[in-house]
Amino acid sequence: MLTIFTDSDTDFTPKVAAEYGFKLISMPYSIDGKTFYPYEGYDEFDFHAFYDSLRGGVLPTTSALGEDRYISYFEPEFAAGNDILYIHFSAAMTMTFQSMDNALKTLKAKYPERKFYSIDTKGITIVSYLIARELGDLLKKGMSAEEAVKWAETEVDNYSQYFFADDLKFFRRSGRVGGLAATMGGLIGLRPVIHMNKEGKMESLGTVKGRIQVMERLVKYVEECGDDVTAHRFIVGHTDAPELAAQLEGMLKEKFPGLQTETVCTNPTAGSHCGPNGVGIAFHSKGRLK
């Protein structure tokens, strides 16, 4: 048997995970020294309350999972004789996978016959969500773990993600976006447009002034880089900005009639880095920039 894991940084909720029979690894965030594990013990997350607290001045932090946590997720599967496929968020963005490797070394010694497969979506939030969903469909149809890994080797780069943040202070603090100017541009309506590059890192593509204008820039990226977008899932993500997301969806559908969009709210752990009022898109593309 194969057990498939993904993590909450892919924006998968317990409900979506259940559609595919995936198990969910909870990626934590901390506020004032208290660590929270999304969806542990509950299925619905109050996104609005979380992002509102950020608007009110809360600055959460995130941390890597410990080795023991990975063991607690994986060992029961290995012990039950299952192999594991883990579709995860970008390894280039975190040290957490070091802990996972250590956990796997321990488990390999104990369960040498068990197999562990991993797929790096080279993204976080919506592009990871999109890839995990595509993989979920394929796996449902009978794709094997080996085939899934093979598919990912070529296909992950064909899913792109572009988004903008409303307030740079979250990213500036996290230091996870390359090429960001150290300005206070958010106050004057200047927003950075960020994408996930081929290495699985976030990178600034410059700034755009004005909310409509920045959403137009996102649409432009779809026009320039999109590949048969109406035939694929198209994800619109937001950090508690449903009205903006709906507006962007409208703009996209005007350009691409028949586009099938799905809107998701960004998970709190990733949201800790980008802050509220941001909007982004993930779609099938001709390839990622750079």
Partner: protein, 588 residues
């Protein structure tokens, strides 16, 4: 009085006479405002500038200087001039300070001056005043000073060694004619139906000087006319059960004692500064001659005073409970208060920044930031907005409350950076900022030409502190300043006709820098019209700061109207709390 020679004591009396007359007339001068809104401040600015000079000479009474030949006219004029340079506020204040700096230059090295030499010094003053501005405009105080002094010089040529009284009478008569003529030279004055306010100010000063010469009673200090320099403190703000949370703002002037430090002139004040650093925060400490001026925030002022007494004796001490002080502007106002209440303080600051550059840099080297930003703003919300925009030091001030060069110098000290970018945010403040920059030697100061709050705000928020190329930052800021439109709305205080707009008292004026665009019955109508005229729909973002008198709900409704009417322009509303201006709308 038949004076043919001007000595130090007489010069001081003349300055005080000028201060007295100006103080009595400052409100009338403030009202000579081209714009029919309550933002005239020329009288205040000139008075505070002149008072800064007189405060700097407080240790020299006219009687003392007359009885002590060792205090020369040149020294007195120099001392007053330095005080004025640092106390200068607004363009009129800066020009006035430069006028007196020119006079001081003309009197340099003189024990006393004949009327001929004094007239030459006045001419030097005019030259220096013209040099204060890059593009001198006729029909302003420059013209009034020049034409008055030219007449005085002509009088001297007619009668060598004329009486000082005759000299001043001639000067005043010519200034009066010149002042009346200013509307003919400057159409904006004619349209507004006023004479030049700065010209009226210098005429007042000259008349006050003549009062002194004629022996009229001059009060030692026209405190009743002096604008308030510090906010009223509500003593009930700290009750029997209150706890000191912010400490005490402690300032003192310490006269170094030979018995304690040896040669005061050779004494290096670094140990005092280092001690203050270890015992408190917001330390400013410098030395001028044998005087050390210090400012520190500390929970235990007594310990500070006990310790520093090992180096000298106190000339003045001021301790204020900071729980009682207005938050955000504490240090600034403390400095202002000190400047108004201590002897040679403004001069001390100037000299200190000049002479103490090296030790200060050594002491603070590790603490200096690469860049800092200093900006001028007023209104609680606007001040906070500038801080949020990354401004390190916000100097409270604006159109009706111009900061002095000394205020800038104090802010430079606090900002503690290798390079400081300054946004004056008002065309009437740029000269004072430049003057402060030329006086301050502690680090590199770059004054950016932001003539209104809008361009300054946007440019400050756009500064990329990670950029290693300073010139690139400056170029980008200048480009930003040029690309921003700022609309303002204020209530008219009188009927007027300007820029083709008929204004009735009580109307709301919509205007941009120096140009009235509309007069409407509501502030929102005026705001909308001026924003439309300046092409709001062509801009990506409209940042709206609502004024202190604008109800929040009204502002929100107005912002919603703007957003609906111009959907492509993102409207961002912030309660600015600024006085005078009901709305400031920044288009960028």
């Amino acid at each position: 009085m038949n004076e043919k020679t001007i000595k130090s004591g007489l010069y001081l009396r003349m300055l005080r006479g000028g201060e007295s007359r100006l103080g009595a007339n400052k409100d009338a001068i403030n009202d000579l405002n081209v714009f029919p809104i309550p933002d005239g401040d020329t009288g205040d600015n000139m008075l505070m500038t002149l008072s800064g000079g007189i405060d700097a000479t407080r240790s020299l009474t006219p009687e003392k200087t007359e009885n002590q030949p060792s205090i020369s006219l040149g020294e007195t004029a120099s001392k007053a001039s330095k005080g004025m340079l640092l106390g200068a506020r607004g363009n009129s204040g800066v020009i006035l300070s430069r006028f007196f700096a020119g006079i001081a230059k003309g009197l340099e090295g003189l024990e006393e001056a004949s009327t001929t030499l004094f007239a030459d010094a006045l001419a030097e003053g005019v030259k220096s005043a013209y040099g204060a501005v890059s593009t001198p405009v006729e029909g302003t105080m420059l013209t009034v000073l020049r034409e008055g002094v030219e007449a005085a010089q002509a009088e001297i040529q007619k009668e060598a060694e004329a009486q000082a009284q005759t000299l001043l009478e001639t000067l005043i008569e010519a200034m009066k004619v010149s002042l009346e003529h200013t509307p003919e030279l400057l159409p904006v004055l004619k349209e507004a139906g006023v004479v030049d306010s700065g010209g009226a100010g210098v005429l007042c000063i000259a008349e006050g000087m003549l009062d002194a010469l004629e022996g009229k009673d001059i009060p030692a200090k026209q405190t009743q006319n002096a604008p308030p320099k510090a906010p009223q403190v509500d003593l009930d703000g700290f009750g029997p059960d209150s706890v000191v949370t912010f400490g005490y703002c402690t300032e003192f002037l310490l006269r170094l004692q030979t018995s304690k430090v040896g040669d005061p002139d050779a004494f290096d004040p670094s140990p005092i500064k280092e001690f203050l650093e270890s015992a408190g925060e917001s330390v400013v400490c410098f030395k001028d001659g044998s005087i050390v001026k210090a400012h520190v925030h500390t929970p235990t002022p007594g310990q500070i005073l006990n310790k520093v007494q090992q180096w000298g004796e106190f000339l003045t001490v001021k301790i204020e409970n900071m729980n009682l002080q207005h938050s955000g502007v504490t240090i600034q106002n403390n400095f202002d208060t000190a400047a108004g209440g201590t002897a040679a303080e403004p001069e001390a600051k100037t000299e200190a920044t000049k002479t103490e550059t090296k030790p200060a840099e050594e002491v603070f080297a590790k603490k200096r930031k690469r860049y800092a930003v200093v900006a001028v703003a007023c209104g609680e919300g606007l001040v906070q907005a500038f801080k949020d925009a990354g401004v390190d030091e916000v100097i409270e001030g604006g159109q009706t409350m111009n900061p002095s060069a000394a205020d800038f110098v104090a802010a430079f000290e606090r900002a503690a950076a290798e390079t400081i970018f300054v946004f004056p945010n008002n065309s009437n403040i740029i000269l004072a900022a430049n003057q402060a920059a030329s006086l301050y030697k502690g680090c590199e100061i770059v004054v950016l030409p932001s003539k209104d709050l809008g361009s300054g705000y946007v440019a400050a928020a756009s500064i990329d502190r990670s950029c290693p190329d300073k010139q690139q930052i400056v170029d980008a800021a200048i480009e930003t300043i040029g690309s921003v439109e700022t609309c303002m709305v204020s209530k008219a205080t009188r009927d007027a006709q300007m820029d083709g707009v008929v204004v009735h008292e009580g109307d709301y004026l919509g205007f941009e820098r120096g140009r009235i665009i509309c007069a409407e019955k509501t502030r929102e109508d005026a705001a909308l019209k001026v924003a439309e005229t300046l092409g709001i729909g062509l801009h990506d973002v409209a940042i709206v700061f609502s004024g202190a008198d604008t109800p929040e709900a009204e502002a929100q409704a107005f912002a919603a109207i703007l957003q609906n009417k111009f959907p492509r322009t993102e409207t961002m509303l912030t309660p600015g709390g600024q006085p005078v201006y009901d709305y400031i709308i920044i288009l960028c």
